[in-house]
C-alpha cells in the first residue's frame, strides 16, 4: 500500500442506480479506477445498488468507512442515503466518458428506460443534451420486450442481427405497437435474425433524430447497456455515418462519472476540472473488433 500523500489511499465511490441495474465504481485520489461492479435485479432496485456497492468494496479490499465521498446518479439517485450529493446521469456520463476518452465530443447513452445524446466539452462538462422524452421506444426496455416476443436472449440479439442482410422495416416505434408488428412479421414467416436487424435499424433511425437535436460531433462514444449490443452499434454507425467508440464496460460510465464528481466534491474542486486529462496508456484503445470499426476502451484497473 502506498502512502496517503500520493492519493492512492484516498477513495471515492460513484453509484448509478439505474432503472434496471445497479452500478458502482471506486476510484482513488489519483483518479484511477480501483474496482467496479454491475448488478441487475429489477426496477430501480435498491438491493441491486447495495449489492453493487458491496461487491465493488470487496473487490477493492475496502469497507464503506474508507470512502471519503459518495455521489449517486441514475433514476434512484435521490434514494441512496450514503450519497453526499446526487447528480443526473447526463452530467455523470459526460464526465465518465471524458475521463476515458478526453477527445470525445458526443456521448450516446442507451439505458434501460431512456436514451440520451450528450454534447461534451473538453473538460467533461455538458454543453447540450437531448433525451427521449415521450416513451421508452429506442431504449433497453424496448429491446427487452421485443427480444421476449421473439424468444431470444437479450445478449444474443446483437450478434444474431449481424447475420442478416435483409431490409425489414419496423415502422412503429411505440413499444406496444412494435411488439405486435414483430408478431405479425413472425407470422408472415420472416426469420428472427432479419426481424432483429430491422429492430436495430428502427432504433438507430430514432436515435439519429435525437443526435440531430444536439448536432453530431466526432468522436462519438456509446455508453449504457445498449452499447453492449453489437447489432445496435453497427446499425447506429451506419445511420450516423461515423465510427462509434465503445468502452470496455459501457454500463459503468455513469457511476465512473459520479465517482469522479465525488472526488471533486471531496477535494473541493467541484465540477470544472481545468487540468488536462491525458489519455494515458492504460486508457488507450485496447482492442479493435476484427469485423467492425468499433473500438474498445479499456478501463485502467489496479
Amino acid at each position: 500500500m502506498t502512502s496517503k500523500s500520493d492519493g492512492s489511499s484516498f477513495y471515492t465511490i460513484g453509484v448509478d442506480s439505474g432503472s434496471l441495474t445497479g452500478k458502482a465504481v471506486i476510484i482513488d485520489g489519483n483518479q484511477r479506477i480501483v474496482s467496479h461492479s454491475v448488478k441487475q435485479l429489477g426496477f430501480v432496485s435498491q438491493k441491486a445498488v447495495m449489492m453493487a456497492i458491496d461487491e465493488a468494496l470487496e473487490k477493492a479490499g475496502l469497507v464503506l468507512d474508507d470512502i471519503a465521498y459518495t455521489v449517486s446518479t441514475g433514476y434512484g439517485r435521490k434514494r441512496l442515503e450514503i450519497a453526499g450529493k446526487n447528480l443526473t446521469e447526463i452530467s455523470c456520463h459526460a464526465k465518465g466518458a471524458n475521463y476515458l476518452y478526453p477527445e470525445v465530443k458526443t456521448v450516446i447513452d442507451i439505458g434501460g428506460q431512456d436514451s440520451k445524446v450528450i454534447a461534451v466539452d473538453p473538460s467533461g462538462n455538458v454543453k447540450n443534451f437531448a433525451m427521449n422524452d415521450k416513451c421508452a421506444a429506442g431504449t433497453g426496455q424496448f429491446l427487452e420486450v421485443l427480444a421476449r416476443a421473439l424468444d431470444v436472449e437479450l445478449t444474443e440479439i446483437g450478434p444474431l442481427s449481424m447475420q442478416s442482410d435483409a431490409d425489414i422495416k419496423i415502422s412503429s416505434m411505440c413499444t406496444t405497437f412494435a411488439e405486435s408488428e414483430v408478431i405479425s412479421l413472425v407470422a408472415e414467416g420472416h426469420t428472427t435474425v432479419d426481424i432483429l436487424s430491422g429492430m436495430h435499424k428502427a432504433i438507430s433511425g430514432r436515435m439519429k433524430g435525437l443526435v440531430g437535436r444536439v448536432g453530431l460531433q466526432k468522436p462519438v462514444m456509446m455508453t449504457g447497456g445498449g452499447a453492449k449490443n453489437i447489432g445496435l452499434v453497427h446499425a447506429l454507425e451506419k445511420s450516423l455515418g461515423v465510427s462509434i467508440f465503445i468502452p470496455e464496460e459501457p454500463q459503468i460510465i455513469g457511476a465512473l462519472g459520479a465517482a469522479l464528481f465525488a472526488k471533486d466534491f471531496a477535494t473541493g474542486i467541484r465540477k470544472k476540472v481545468d487540468e488536462e486529462q491525458d489519455l494515458d496508456k492504460s486508457r488507450a484503445p485496447a482492442k479493435d473488433c476484427g469485423s467492425c470499426s468499433v473500438q474498445n476502451y479499456q478501463l485502467n484497473k489496479n
Binding site: L87, T88, D114, V126, M131, D133, K134
Partner: protein
C-alpha cells in the same frame, strides 16, 4: 378580511381558488344574480365584458385526461383547446351565461366553434382581433371591439357607456399594476415567491372578480415587502418562457425550483404576459383598448399577433439580460403551432447570445415527470 392573514395564508387562499377555478365565479353568480362570461383563454377585452355588469372569467385548462372531448376535437390539436372542448362536452361549462370565442389562433377558432356548439344554452359571441401592426390595424381592432360591444349589450340587455368602460379599465389597470409590483419584488428577491405562487396569483386573478383580487393583493403586498429581506437567495437564475393559453403544470414549475433554480422572470401567458401593460385612461376607451393590444405586444411579443415590428427572440435575450438570468427554460404546449413556428428563431438567438436553453414540450396527458426532472436537473447542473 385578508388583512389579518399572513402572506402564506393569503397565498394558500389564492392557490385554492386557482385549483378549483370556477367555484368562486359560481358563488358570485348566486350572490349577485349577474351573468358570467367564459373567455376562450388569450386576448379578450375583459374590461368590455365587465363594463356590461358581467363577470368575465378566463377559461382554464384542466389537468385531467381528455375523454368525452375526443369525439369533438382531434388529439393532434393543442391541449388547451382540447381541454376546454372536453369541459364543454362534459357539461362542466353549463354554469356560464355567455361564451366569447376568438380568432387569435387557428386552433382557438376551431375550438371556439366546437365549444359554442356544445353549449347551446350559453350565449355564444366572438371577438375578431385583427393581427399585425400596420397603419390600419388599430382601426380594425376598434371595429372588432365595437362588434363585440354590440353583442354584449344585446346579451346583457344594457347599453355600455364610455364611463362604464373607463371604470372597468381603472379596476383592471389597478390589478395589473399590483401584480407588476409583485413581479418587481420577485425580480429582486426571486425566492420570496415560488413560481407556483406566481401562477396562483395570476390564475386566481383570471377567474374571480378583479375588485376582490385587488383587495387580496393590497393585503398581500405589504406582507411580502416586510418579509423580503429575510429571504435567503440562492440558485441558478432561470427565466421561464412560453406556455400559451394553458397554465404550465404546477408539477413542472415545482421541478424547476427543486432542480436548484430560482425563477427570476417569465413571459408566460399565466404570468407577466397577462399584466405587462395598462390601458390608457385618458383616451376614448375602445381606441385605448385597441392601442393596448398593440402596445402590450411590444412589451411582451406574442407569436399569435404576427407583428412584424416586434421580435420575440430578441425580447427574450434582452429580458434574460435585464433579469440577470443564467438560463432559459421554454415550456411549449405540444402542437402549439404559433410557438413551434417561432422556436427555431429563439433557438438561434439563444445560441448566438450564448444563453443555454432547455425546451420542454409538454403534452396534455402523456409526459413522464421523471424524464422531465432528469432533463431539468441536468440543465441546471450545466450552470453550477
Amino acid at each position: 378580511m385578508y388583512q389579518n392573514l399572513a402572506s402564506d395564508e393569503i397565498l394558500n387562499k389564492l392557490t385554492q381558488i386557482a385549483a378549483d377555478p370556477y367555484e368562486r365565479a359560481k358563488e358570485w353568480k348566486m350572490e349577485t344574480g349577474s351573468k358570467l362570461i367564459g373567455c376562450y383563454i388569450m386576448h379578450f377585452p375583459e374590461e368590455l365584458l365587465h363594463a356590461a355588469g358581467a363577470l368575465p372569467i378566463v377559461l382554464q385548462v384542466k389537468e385531467e385526461p381528455i375523454t368525452t372531448g375526443h369525439a369533438y376535437y382531434p388529439s393532434y390539436f393543442c391541449g388547451p383547446t382540447r381541454s376546454i372542448v372536453d369541459q364543454a362536452a362534459k357539461s362542466e361549462l353549463d354554469f356560464l351565461d355567455g361564451f366569447v370565442g376568438g380568432d387569435y389562433c387557428i386552433q382557438a377558432v376551431g375550438g371556439s366553434e366546437v365549444v359554442g356548439n356544445l353549449l347551446p344554452k350559453v350565449n355564444n359571441m366572438f371577438f375578431r382581433l385583427p393581427v399585425g401592426n400596420q397603419a390600419w390595424t388599430q382601426g380594425d381592432i376598434v371595429t372588432g371591439l365595437t362588434e363585440l360591444k354590440r353583442d354584449i349589450e344585446r346579451f346583457a340587455d344594457k347599453e355600455i357607456s364610455d364611463e362604464d368602460i373607463l371604470n372597468s379599465i381603472r379596476i383592471y389597470n389597478k390589478n395589473r399594476s399590483l401584480i407588476r409590483e409583485i413581479y418587481e419584488l420577485k425580480s429582486v428577491h426571486p425566492s420570496l415567491l415560488s413560481s407556483s405562487d406566481m401562477l396562483s396569483i395570476i390564475k386566481s386573478s383570471m377567474v374571480i372578480p378583479k375588485e376582490e383580487h385587488n383587495e387580496i393583493l393590497e393585503s398581500l403586498i405589504p406582507k411580502l415587502q416586510a418579509k423580503k429581506d429575510s429571504i435567503k437567495e440562492e440558485g441558478v437564475r432561470v427565466f421561464l418562457s412560453g406556455s400559451f393559453c394553458g397554465a404550465p403544470k404546477n408539477d413542472i414549475l415545482e421541478l424547476v425550483e427543486q432542480s436548484g433554480a430560482v425563477v427570476v422572470g417569465d413571459d408566460l401567458f399565466h404570468g407577466y404576459r397577462y399584466i405587462s401593460d395598462n390601458i390608457a385612461e385618458d383616451k376614448e376607451p375602445l381606441a385605448a383598448i385597441a392601442a393596448h393590444y398593440i402596445d402590450k405586444n411590444t412589451n411582451v411579443p406574442c407569436p399569435t399577433r404576427c407583428d412584424p415590428k416586434t421580435d420575440w427572440p430578441q425580447y427574450l435575450v434582452d429580458s434574460m439580460r435585464k433579469h440577470k438570468a443564467d438560463q432559459l427554460v421554454i415550456v411549449m404546449t405540444q402542437f402549439c403551432e404559433p410557438h413551434m413556428f417561432f422556436y427555431p428563431d429563439i433557438k438561434d438567438a439563444m445560441q448566438e447570445a450564448g444563453i443555454p436553453h432547455l425546451l420542454l414540450e409538454i403534452s396534455h396527458e402523456l409526459d413522464s415527470i421523471e424524464t422531465i426532472k432528469t432533463r431539468l436537473e441536468a440543465f441546471v447542473e450545466m450552470a453550477v
